[in-house]
C-alpha cells in the first residue's frame, strides 16, 4: 500500500512535467501529448483523493476524465489536421492566424 502523499506528489510531478511540455514544446503533437499528461495527473490526483478519504467517487471521476481526454484528443487531432491543410508546419509558434490584425 503506497502512502497517499507519495501518490499526490507523483500527480504534482506529472502535472508540472505536462505543463513544462506545454510551455516549451513547439510541435503541436507534443503539446497535445503534454495536455494528456496533465489530464492524467489530475486523474491520478482524483484516485489519490478517493484513497485518502475512502471514497469511490474519485475512481468514477477518473473514468470521466479518461473519456474527456479521449474526446479532447480526437477533437484536437482533427483541428491539427485542418491546420495542416493551411500551414506547411506543425510549429505552434507559427500558427498565429488568430492574432490581432496588425
Amino acid at each position: 500500500m503506497i502512502a497517499w502523499p507519495m501518490s499526490a506528489g507523483l500527480a504534482l510531478a506529472l502535472f508540472l512535467l505536462g505543463l513544462l511540455g506545454l510551455l516549451t514544446r513547439r510541435n503541436l503533437i507534443f503539446v497535445l501529448m503534454s495536455i494528456e499528461i496533465m489530464l492524467n495527473a489530475t486523474g491520478l490526483l482524483f484516485v489519490t483523493a478517493g484513497m485518502r478519504w475512502g471514497n469511490p467517487d474519485g475512481q468514477i471521476m477518473l473514468i470521466l476524465v479518461l473519456n474527456l481526454a479521449g474526446a479532447e484528443l480526437a477533437l484536437g487531432l482533427v483541428l491539427l489536421l485542418r491546420l495542416r491543410g493551411r500551414l506547411p508546419t506543425l510549429d505552434g509558434d507559427r500558427a498565429t492566424l488568430l492574432r490581432d490584425a496588425p
Partner: protein
Amino acid sequence: MTHLWAIPALPLAGAIILGLAGPTLGPRMSAIIGTASVGLAAIIAIGIGIGWLQHPPPGGAFVQPLWTWVSLPGLTIRCGLTLDPVALLMVLVITIIGSLIHLFSTEYMAGEAGYARYFAYLNLFVAAMLLLVLADDLLVLFIGWEGVGVCSYLLVGFWFADPANGMAAQKSFIVTRIADIAMLAGLLLLSTQRGTLDIHDLTTSLLPRGAWLPEAAAALLLVGCLGKSAQLPLHSWLPDAMAGPTPVSALIHAATMVTAGVYLVVRLHPLFMQAPWVMHGIAIGGALTLLIAAAAGLFQTDIKRVLAYSTMSQIGYMFVALGVGAWSAAMFHFLTHAVFKALLFLSAGAVTMRLHHEQDIFAMGGLRRPLPAAFVCFVIGAASLAALPLVTAGFFSKEIILGALWAAPAPALWAAGITGALLTSIYSFRLIFTVFFGPVITKPSGAYGIRILLPLFMLAIAALCVGWLETPGFLGGNHLLSAFLEPANGEAAVPILSPLIPLTGCLVPLIGNGIAWVLHRRGVWRAQASRVQTPLLGFLTSACGFDAAYRALLVRPYLQLVAALRDDPVDQLSLWAEHAAIALHRRLRATQTGHLRRYAAWMMAGVVATIAMVLLA
C-alpha cells in the same frame, strides 16, 4: 357685409391652389388665379364699403363671429372678424393696391423661375394681412401678424440662389421676430391680467389712468409695432429687405405690412391713451426715425434703398402723429403714403426692368425722354412724397400731421417734422434730377405692356386726388376721412392755427426742391458717386451706424459663442470615458498575439495567482 369672411378667404384659397398645383398650372393660369383672387376680394371690399357709406352699421362696427378657438377657464379666444372704419380703410387699401400690384407683377415677373410660387406667396401675404386687419381678437391678429412676417421673409428671399438675398431675408425675419417676442409678452400680460384678448373688451373696459398694467402692456406691444414698422431702434432690416422683387417692396415694405404697427396702435388707442409715457416714447421715437431715415435717404445710391429710407421716414411721421393722439391724421397719412409709395416703387421697378435691373441711380440719367410714362408716374409719386403743395396727396396728410404737432402743443416735434419734410423734399428731387435729367447714361431696352401701365396710371391718378378727402381750412376744409373714421377714432380736433404754420408747410418742400435743383446743376449729386467715404458720411449713409453697432454688440458675440460651443466643451467631460475605453482597448489588443504557448502561460499564471489569493486571504 355677411360676405366679410370671403375677403381674407379668397386670397388664402388662391395661395393654397397656387402652392399645391402651381407648377402644373403654367404661368398664364397662375397669374390669373393670383390676380383674380385678390381682385375679387377687392370687389367685395368695395361693395362692402359702398354699403357702409349708405347704411353704416349701428355702433360703427360690424362683427362677424366665426367660431370659438380656445376655451379655457379664465380665457376664451373667439375667432371672428370685426370691421370698423379703420379696418375698412385698411382692407380697401390692401385689396385695391394689392390687386394693382398683382397685375403689375404678372408682367414684371414674366419669365422668372418660380412664377407660380411668387403669386402663392403674394396671395398668402394678402390673406395674412387681411386677417391681421380684420381680427377681433389680439391672438388672431397675432397669427396674421406672424403670417405677414413669414411672407415677407419668403418674398425678400424670393431669389434665394444669391446668398445675400437669403441673408437679407433672415435679417428681416429675425429682427421682427425679436420685436414679436416683446409683443407676445404683452399679449400674455394682457391675457393673464385682463382675462381677455378681445380687442373690443380691451378698449372699452378701461383701467384707472396711470396704472402700471396699461403702461407695461402698451410698451411691450409697442416694441412689436416698432419692429414691424421699421422704427428706431429696430429699423435696420427694412433697407436690406429691398433684396426682394420690386412689386414685393411696393406691397409689403411700403404700402401695407410696415404700417401694421401704426394700425395696431390706432386699433388699441384707448389702451395707449392710458399709457402717457408710452405715448411720449412713440412721439419721440417717430421724430428721431423720421429725421435719421430722411438724412440717410440723402446719401443712398440704390434707388430702392432711397425709397426704403423714405418709407421709414414717412412711417415716422405716422408714429409722431400717433404720439400726440392724432389717430385720424396718422391713418390719412397711411392712406396717402400707401398710394404714393406703391406708385414710387412700381415706377422705380418699371424703370429698372428696362435697364436690366440696374438699381444704382448714378448708372441712370436722362431717362425723362426714353421713359416718359415712368417719368410722369415717378414725378407724381416723388412730388407727393416731398409734399409739394396743393397738387399732391402727401401734402394734405403731412400738413394735418404738422398742424396736429403744432397744436399738441409740441413745437420741438413740429420742428423735427418740418426739418424732415425739407430733407424728404431734397432727396425726392435728388432722385428725380439724377435719374431722369442730365445726359442718358444707360440706354433702356424693351417696352411696357398694359399690365405695367394700368396700375401705374391708376395709382398716379389716386396720388393726385386722394389728398382732397381731407383739406385744411383755407382749402375748403373737407373732413371726409376723419368723419368716416369718427366712430372708431373719436372726433378729430380741428386745430386753430395761425396761417404761418401751413405757409411754412407749403414753402419747405419748394425750398427743398430748389436746393436739390441747385445741387444738381452744380453736379454735387453726381460727385457723390465717386466721393471717398469719410467716417461722417458713412455714419449718415448707414442711418447712424445701427447695423454696425448691432453687428458688434449682438451678432459678433453670438457668432463667437457659437464658434466656442460648436465643439461642445461640456460634451468633452463625458467623452473621457470613451477615450479611456479606447486607450485600454488598444493595450489589450496588443496581447492578442495568436501564440498558443503564451496564452497557456498567462492562463497558468492566472490560475496560480487565483489559488495564491484564495490561500493567502
